[in-house]
């Protein structure tokens, strides 16, 4: 038992080695960029950290930013466990957003009671929407990367049309009607600013994703299909059915993310709506090694950097975009394992888990 615990800890530690090295390296690199802009890196980074976790409001901002990324990160991670690349998080999130914007208004008279109903509806629409590329793959062999990318466009334009035409508000700002405050996800309070209970929902979603993948028969199948289609087929598992399900479940996660943004943050779907959450979810999942716990940590990093960047830009001359550079470098290093090996030798790589050696037979 204790040896298993130790192994689990070593595994978790190993999984963290790469991201941590990557983060440190990116900050070192970023320091040179800050220097080049004529600023003091220490002041800039101090402002960055302050803006991310320096006060309850800052923490609230970080949580607020991390929330949708946890959902879209899970959308990528679950599909990835089945060996599929879900690039469709953006469109799936929009589908959830429009579902929530429409139902949130329609069911607004129910007050808080409408929240679970609306979110459940997001699960359904996201699931169905996510199933489309799954069916296209299982039936016709269409590659999910292509179809999910294309479905992003369809999803974004479809929801934009719905928000601008049938569901358009009377008001000045283009978009849907505002949802009744009673029917929105409430703020957490505690001085955390606009952070809402959506963050807790995201944590619950991560736990659900974990349980689904590692504690249910369906998750067992999804992981088997992802790791070895040949062995899964041999064991009598349906490859097609699991492909459809994994993408559909991913879609559902992203869609709740959209629903939570509407119910918790904006109260409606404006046009233009927030962009990039789906795509950043890919980065979050990469950083989190497609593990729900990793996804949460990755999303917090993304959220923290975004929130800290505002403070940094405010109190120094360093532009917001520095954090995009930092993130890009982090992702590059996390994915380019060979590079880290070059920099730190094989030992770092070995530490990062025997997993990497598997290809050597």
């Amino acid at each position: 038992m204790s040896s298993r615990l130790r192994r689990a800890l070593v595994d978790a530690g190993g999984a963290l080695v790469f991201p941590l090295i990557a983060i440190v390296l990116s900050f070192v690199l970023g320091a040179f960029i800050v220097l080049a802009t004529g600023n003091n890196p220490l002041t800039a980074y101090a402002a960055l950290v302050r803006g991310a976790v320096g006060s309850p409001t800052a923490i609230g901002r970080t949580l607020l930013g991390a929330t949708p990324l946890i959902f879209t990160g899970l959308a990528v991670a679950v599909a990835f466990r089945a060996g599929l690349f879900n690039i469709g998080g953006e469109g799936q999130l929009y589908i959830g957003a429009i579902t929530a914007a429409w139902l949130g208004v329609t069911l607004g008279f129910l007050g808080a009671l409408s929240i679970p109903i609306v979110l459940l509806a997001c699960v359904v629409t996201g699931f169905l929407w996510g199933a489309i590329p799954g069916i296209l793959k299982a039936r016709f062999g269409a590659h999910e990367v292509i179809t999910t990318i294309m479905l992003n466009y369809i999803g974004i334009y479809l929801t934009t049309y719905l928000a601008l035409k049938p569901l358009r508000t009377e008001g000045l700002v283009p978009g849907t009607d505002a949802i009744d405050f009673a029917a929105r996800i409430p703020f957490i309070g505690l001085g955390l600013g606009r952070a809402n209970y959506g963050f807790l929902l995201a944590l619950v979603a991560a736990v659900v994703a974990y349980l689904l993948l590692w504690r249910t028969g369906r998750g067992f199948q999804i992981r088997a299909v992802g790791l070895s289609p040949g062995a899964a087929n041999y064991a009598g598992m349906g490859i097609g059915a699991n492909t459809v399900l994994a993408l559909a479940i991913g879609g559902a996660f992203a869609a709740i993310g959209g629903g939570v943004e509407v119910l918790g943050v904006y109260g409606k779907m404006t046009v233009p709506f927030v962009t990039g959450l789906g795509f950043n979810g890919i980065g979050v999942a990469l950083l989190g090694r497609n593990h729900p716990a990793g996804v949460v940590l990755g999303a917090l990093l993304f959220g923290g950097l975004a929130s800290g960047a505002q403070e940094m830009q405010f109190s120094t001359d360093v532009p917001l975009q520095l954090t995009s550079v930092l993130l890009a470098v982090i992702l590059l290093l996390v994915t380019a394992t060979k590079l880290v090996e070059l920099l730190f030798g094989k030992r770092a790589r070995a530490l990062a888990g025997a997993r990497l050696e598997k290809g050597l037979g």
Binding site: T216, L227, G230, A231, G236, L360
Partner: protein, 520 residues
């Protein structure tokens, strides 16, 4: 630890020593895969490496080839200390390796595969004509027959292996390591391979050969180093020993090289096929109208040269590949339209020939693999939830019962040695008390001790009234276990003989000469 070296150590090498590994130690966590291993290899010599599954042979060779770095120990090439950090270092030292699992790219041609990474160039482009010429020259010189222009995907296993060897030779290898090269070869292909190896050593190359087939090792090697539990037990001259002695040295006890078979108590038919037609992946008729019947308490052996439809037959019977037409019956019930899952639920066990890609999920733990087919049944599951603890407990029992090493349910399947992976598959398939067993190449890559064990298990199942279909390329195995032997050729059963059929009889049938016999 080098004092372990006894008679036939360095002393046995007459030719100049080209390679010496000294005191090599390598641990994976608590497992010491190599523990102070020292070997020497003379020029023009074939050194056999022998040892049980998991003894550490592949690990030692992977260290030599720079795939693993040793915790301790040194490597000397031509008397000079060699620091081998990765395969590139190994290649530059003249070391070549043919892995147990091939590393070729199926979509490329033979010539392209051979020169890949060391391409002859004309300006900035690949000089394909030169690549083809070089390949032809090499293959001519050593009798490694293969057409440089064919795509690797279209080659037989034996031919792919020749490409692997050519690849090493193209990189000027003078020390060639072959890890279980004959496990996947037919007897004829093995003979061809060995004549190539003899050519190579005559030309001054030195070879390290790993195989579990004692007869082969005695026939071709000069000396044999025996490894047990990561340590060198002894190095012996091949001319001064025999199979029994080798088996004793590697296992540490007496091994029965042939198991005793009791009288068959044949019951009713349990697994049968009628007019079965199955397509291969490429769409050709791989199985072309096969009818067969296996009764309880008997073993029906299927003999034949590889690639005559055995794989497709097994898969169609097990339900992992659809039948184009025909019938499959399990205990009298028509299961042609029932999937693999349903057939397994009706008591069918299937040991697939390709344990790496089918029998196991390499990145699953052993306990997950042990539950690969039963994860959704009690006691592993209830209402869709699975219980890893129950899986672990059951796996621990099965692994211990089948002597899988290490018997650790949390170990990743891919970290096991080849033979132990095979035992893990058998443990899963046989421990569920199946009524019908399809066993394809059940002893591929396992050591003599484990072969004895697996054969005993199969015979025990037979004694308990189970119906067993044994598909094997090893004629010896088919003959010693089966009650009846059906010979498959070109997707058809061309004849059925008793287990005492002569080599000639079987050989003729396997070559497709039926002599007017009717279907089995």
């Amino acid at each position: 630890m080098t004092e372990e070296r006894t008679r036939g150590g360095t002393a046995g090498v007459e030719a100049p020593v080209v390679l010496e590994m000294r005191g090599v130690t390598k641990a994976f966590g608590p497992v010491k895969a190599n523990d102070g291993v020292s070997i020497t290899l003379g020029r023009g010599e074939i050194l056999g490496l022998l040892g049980e599954n998991g003894a550490g042979k592949s690990t030692l060779m992977k260290i030599l080839y720079g795939l693993y770095s040793p915790d301790e120990g040194e490597v000397f090439v031509d008397g000079e200390r060699a620091e081998i950090r990765d395969p590139k270092d190994a290649v530059s030292r003249g070391i070549g390796m043919v892995h147990q699992h091939f590393t070729l790219i199926p979509a490329l041609t033979v010539a392209e595969n051979i020169v890949l990474g060391a391409e002859p160039r004309k300006g900035a482009t690949l000089d394909l004509a030169k690549a083809i010429k070089d390949t032809e020259e090499l293959s001519e010189r050593y009798g490694l027959r293969v057409d440089p222009r064919t795509r690797v995907a279209d080659l037989s296993v034996g031919a792919q292996q020749r490409v692997e060897i050519l690849k090493a030779l193209y990189r000027k290898a003078r020390i060639l390591v072959l890890d279980e090269p004959t496990a996947v070869l037919t007897p004829q292909e093995t003979e061809d391979l060995f004549s190539v190896l003899k050519e190579l050593v005559a030309d001054g190359l030195s070879i390290i050969l790993i195989t579990h087939k004692l007869g082969e090792l005695l026939g071709i090697s000069n000396r044999i180093t025996i490894i047990r539990d990561g340590k060198v037990v002894e190095t012996v001259e091949a001319s001064g020993t025999d199979e029994g002695a080798l088996a004793r040295l590697m296992v540490g006890r007496e091994v029965l090289l042939r198991v005793e078979k009791t009288e068959a108590k044949v019951g009713g038919p349990r697994l049968s096929a009628e007019g079965l037609v199955v397509l291969s992946g490429a769409g050709a008729k791989a199985v072309d109208g096969i009818g067969l019947e296996v009764r309880g308490g008997e073993i029906l052996g299927i003999a034949g040269v590889d690639g005559n439809g055995q794989t497709e037959l097994a898969e169609a019977l097990a339900g992992t590949r659809p039948a184009e037409s025909g019938l499959v019956r399990l205990d009298g019930e028509d299961v042609t339209r029932v999937g693999a899952n349903g057939r397994q639920g009706r008591g069918l066990a299937y040991v697939p020939e390709d344990r790496g890609a089918k029998g196991l999920v390499q990145d699953f733990s052993l306990s997950e693999n042990n539950a690969l087919k039963t994860y959704d049944e009690a006691p592993f599951s209830k209402w869709g939830w699975i219980f890893p603890k129950a899986m672990r407990r059951r796996a621990a029992e099965a692994l211990r019962a089948y002597d899988v090493r290490p018997p650790d349910p949390d170990a990743r399947a891919g970290s096991l040695s080849g033979g132990n992976q095979q035992k893990a598959v058998l443990a899963r398939e046989l421990s569920g008390d199946p009524g019908v067993i399809i066993a394809a190449q059940p002893t591929r890559g396992v050591d003599v001790g484990a072969i004895e064990f697996i054969h005993r298990q199969l015979l025990e199942q037979r004694a308990r009234g189970k119906a067993i279909l044994l598909i094997s390329l090893e004629l010896e195995e088919v003959r010693s276990l089966s009650d009846r032997v059906a010979v498959i050729y070109d997707g058809r059963i061309v004849g059925e003989v008793g287990p005492d059929a002569t080599d000639e009889e079987l050989g003729l049938l396997m070559a497709g000469r039926t002599g007017g016999e009717k279907d089995a």
